[in-house]
């Protein structure tokens, strides 16, 4: 987790800045993510980025918060989706090594951290060091920040945004630094005030530590929040969408701060509401997080089928206990807990339950260290004799191990970043044009003046040969490209003035088209065996998706466009992994007559689709007054056109060079959609009771309940051989325990 590096004539202990390494970070920087991130109040996010920096003999401390309201007591933020209680942030603009963020602690050549007093006295030549500096370490060159906005996708990933109108304000406070040989220290109070001067300034939706190299007491390095802060945009987005905190992605998850003793419990679940009239709603409307400090009491649970809130918990014991549900704390006896909302109304999943007129709640699952039993009777028996009944989530199920693979796991969606490609090269220029502007261009080209002819000498006699390609585009590409307004077209060195023309400056943006969370309908094998998923993308053939790859996962569609050829590449992303990409073409290429006698036009033209024997429809002239249009009034093309032209001998070596791009369909539905085909099945309502359901459990028969079929291979019973055979046969056919 740490290693020694050398630069700037000093040694530094380079420490990974990751959630898994918070224990080591806290040794040096106690004010980094030092409180649980369980707040859901946008005005109290508690985000602070601060440090004390040194310049010559002066130390200055400053910290930033999102606070900017008049009383400076709250954050100037608000929730974007009021129906989603979750808010969060993520770290940004950090130093990294092989993709892993780090901080550097000043140390000696052996890796022993250097104290502040040692640094002040020996490096800076101070005569004395302030009291207490012998116990603090020096933070080296470090750069990191917290953001609520994804600059790449230009949208929020945190369900937060700045409030109100200008001026936006962050709260910045400075402290100390006025006198030589004085050491500034940060002591932000709850209202974010500190001694020293204060200012407010406009900022983007990020709080960053200072960019230049700085040395600080590590204890004065502040990076903290009361809301969850994640290590990546993807993890933040996943939390907002589903409520799930992926392991190892959150710096300040609540469970990291509870003193987890053996008797402490947690139960996290994520659910969503299905609205039958409006369609599936993917966002989780309720975040469910319960932690219990039982202080010696025993807590168990069971599934109460048929209820909206269908996990019931029960505590047993004489101790007072405390519990936190969705950030709110409670305390009481075991009886108090048993009558509380936490015990009786904790929303999680077992089976669909109709709720209300609009729909019903489906669950994504739950994670807990509380033993959950199939029914209340089993739970009560488990309190008396834990070994006599098996919970539905026993410890030794799916006991996995690390295979020890080599290689670095990667979050490929995070690596899929927009690029900037130039749309104009100086030799050729891509224009976006209205039909009227194109008419103007056509008229100029077909009635070429001498100046135009002179400008196009390189192309041979025909000005039309300056047109390399013309495409009709049926969709708006503003999200994918950048354009610059132009006064007209530039043909060679000749200008054709016209309104309605702009130059495509850059392309290469990757745009998120949308995402959907696909939860299983039955939460059993039928979600995989009985469902076919077909993804329909605009201008593309349907794509079959494997149910095992997408059930229980978030499907995201991103795209990038090549405006030269009107090609689109779709990225199919499943749970932040770029699963596959699909290429399609859209729009239609307008055929342009060209003089190919010199062969120059063919060299200059881009890769235009060739004629096909199936018939390539030649576009009619787009310039209605164009005399060529009258000549080209032909219904279908293909070799017939070439032969006709050749036969007419009007002009030698003319050929049609454009066709409709294959697969384009301008009347297509313009949004992606997922077609879900379900093979209807019948599950008898009492199947579990009458016949049980499949399992692959090896256990004592006394640990299970109800109808049971089992293979007995170790019949250690004092009975006759005939009785033994009968027992084996009966158990195999099914008994009721």
């Amino acid at each position: 987790m740490s290693r020694i590096v050398q630069y700037d004539d000093h040694y530094f202990l380079r420490i990974d800045f990751t959630p898994e390494n918070m224990e080591e970070i806290a040794q040096y920087c106690p004010n980094v993510f030092n409180k649980p991130g369980d707040s859901t109040d946008p005005e109290q996010t508690g985000i602070i980025v601060g440090h004390v920096s040194q310049s010559n003999l002066t130390w200055v401390g400053s910290f930033l918060s999102f606070g900017g309201s008049l009383n400076r007591g709250g954050d100037y933020l608000e929730r974007i989706d009021e129906n989603n209680s979750r808010i969060c942030g993520y770290i940004t603009d950090y130093n990294e090594e092989s993709g892993v963020p780090y901080i550097d602690i000043l140390c000696d050549s052996s890796g022993n951290p250097r104290t502040m007093s040692d640094y002040l006295l020996n490096d800076l030549g101070w005569e004395t060091a302030p009291a207490g500096t012998g116990d603090t370490y020096v933070l080296g060159y470090t750069r990191i920040g917290i953001s609520i906005y994804d600059a790449e996708s230009e949208e929020s990933c945190s369900n937060l945004k700045r409030t109100g109108s200008s001026p936006y304000s962050n709260f910045i406070a400075s402290t100390g630094g006025s006198a030589e040989y004085s050491l500034a220290q940060l002591t932000p109070a709850d209202t974010f005030e500190a001694s020293g001067s204060t200012t407010s300034e406009s900022r983007a939706s990020r709080l960053l530590s200072n960019f230049p190299a700085f040395r600080s007491t590590a204890v004065d390095f502040y990076l903290t929040a009361s809301i969850p802060i994640f290590s990546s945009v993807a993890a933040a987005e996943h939390y907002i969408d589903t409520g799930e905190i992926r392991e190892g992605t959150c710096f300040n998850e609540s469970s990291m701060f509870s003193d987890q003793a053996d008797e402490d419990y947690y139960l996290n679940s994520w659910t969503f509401r299905y609205n039958k009239s409006k369609g599936y709603m993917s966002n989780d409307n309720e975040a469910h997080k319960l932690t219990i400090q039982a202080n010696g009491n025993n807590v168990k649970g069971y599934v109460k089928e048929g209820d909206y809130y269908n996990i019931r918990l029960q505590a047993s014991g004489s101790a007072n206990m405390t519990w936190q549900m969705n950030g709110v704390s409670y305390s009481g006896t075991a009886a108090d807990f048993n009558s509380s909302e936490a015990a009786n109304s904790f929303n999680t999943w077992k089976e669909y339950t109709y709720y209300g007129r609009d729909g019903f709640v489906k669950g994504g699952g739950f994670k807990t260290n509380i033993y959950i039993y199939a029914n209340k009777e089993d739970m009560e028996q488990a309190f008396e004799d834990p070994d006599s009944v098996l919970p539905i989530n026993p410890d030794d199920v799916d006991d996995s191990w690390e295979p020890g693979d080599t290689g670095l796991n990667t979050d490929t969606e995070h690596d899929l970043v927009s690029q900037v490609h130039d749309g104009a090269t100086g030799l050729i220029t891509l224009y976006r044009s209205t039909a009227a502007a194109l008419n103007n261009l056509g008229a100029e080209l077909y009635t070429a003046s001498q100046s135009l002819l002179d400008a196009l000498k390189i192309y041979g006699e025909s000005p039309i040969n300056s047109l390399i390609s013309v495409h009709h585009c049926p969709i708006n590409l503003d999200d994918f490209i950048t354009t610059e307004s132009a006064s007209g077209f530039k043909v060679g060195s000749h200008s054709v003035s016209s309104t309605g023309v702009s130059i495509v400056k850059t392309y290469g943006k990757i745009v998120a088209l949308g995402s959907t969370l696909i939860n299983g309908k039955y939460q059993d094998f039928r979600d995989y065996e009985n469902f076919d998923y077909e993804l329909h993308l605009p201008f593309s053939n349907p794509i079959k998706l494997d149910a095992s790859e997408i059930v229980g996962k978030t499907l995201t569609i991103k795209a990038t466009v090549d405006p030269y050829n009107l090609q689109i590449r779709y990225y199919i992303i499943i749970n932040s992994v770029v699963s596959q990409y699909i290429d399609a073409s859209f729009g239609k290429q307008i055929a342009v007559l060209g003089n190919d006698s010199a062969g120059k036009a063919r060299e200059l033209r881009q890769n235009i689709a060739s004629l096909t024997s199936a018939g390539a429809n030649v576009a009619m002239s787009i310039a209605t007054a164009n005399p060529v249009g009258a000549m080209m009034n032909i219904a279908s093309a293909g070799t017939g056109i070439v032969n006709t032209l050749e036969a007419s001998k009007r002009e030698a070596h003319k050929q049609v060079v454009g066709t409709f791009a294959p697969g384009c369909a301008e009347n297509d539905i313009l949004y992606p959609y997922l077609q879900i085909i379900e093979q209807v099945s019948i599950k008898p309502p009492s199947l579990e009771t009458v016949y049980g359901r499949p399992t692959n459990l090896v256990t004592k028969l006394g640990n299970v309940r109800g109808f049971t079929c089992a293979e007995l291979t170790q019949v250690a019973i004092n009975c006759t051989d005939a009785e033994r055979s009968e027992i084996e046969a009966l158990v195999s056919q099914g008994i009721i325990i």
């Binding site: 369609g279 050729i428 891509l430 077609q675 379900e678 028969l701």
Partner: protein, 144 residues
Amino acid sequence: MQVQIYKTSSEKHRLSKTLTNQINKTCHILDGTSITDPVLVIGYDASILQHTYAYITDFGRYYFITNIEVLPGQEIRLSLHVDVLMTYKDQIKACNARVTRSQSNYDPMISDNLIINKVNTNITQRKIGSGFTRANQYYVLIGG
């Protein structure tokens, strides 16, 4: 020999039966009777005719009454078959086994051939994002 006779409406394949209406009787067994399929003769008692279950202390086993014959001379002959589940229920519970179907501890992700597919299908379509907006534009690539 003593025999306890009961009524029970519990399922035959239930491990632990609920027994009611116990009647204690003295019986004699026929020569050569099996310990797992004994045949007993007891004195006539009309109330026994509705009973279906028995326990023989000397044999240490529970039995289903498989046949009741009324004999001449005011006697009833009972044919019994051992109920191995009730007799050895504690030992059976202590046996390790590979459970293949269970009411309480099943894995919903394992295919179940008792959940039968029908021939019809349901088709739904879910929109993903708002997609593109229509436009009527031309992209022209020109030399120069």
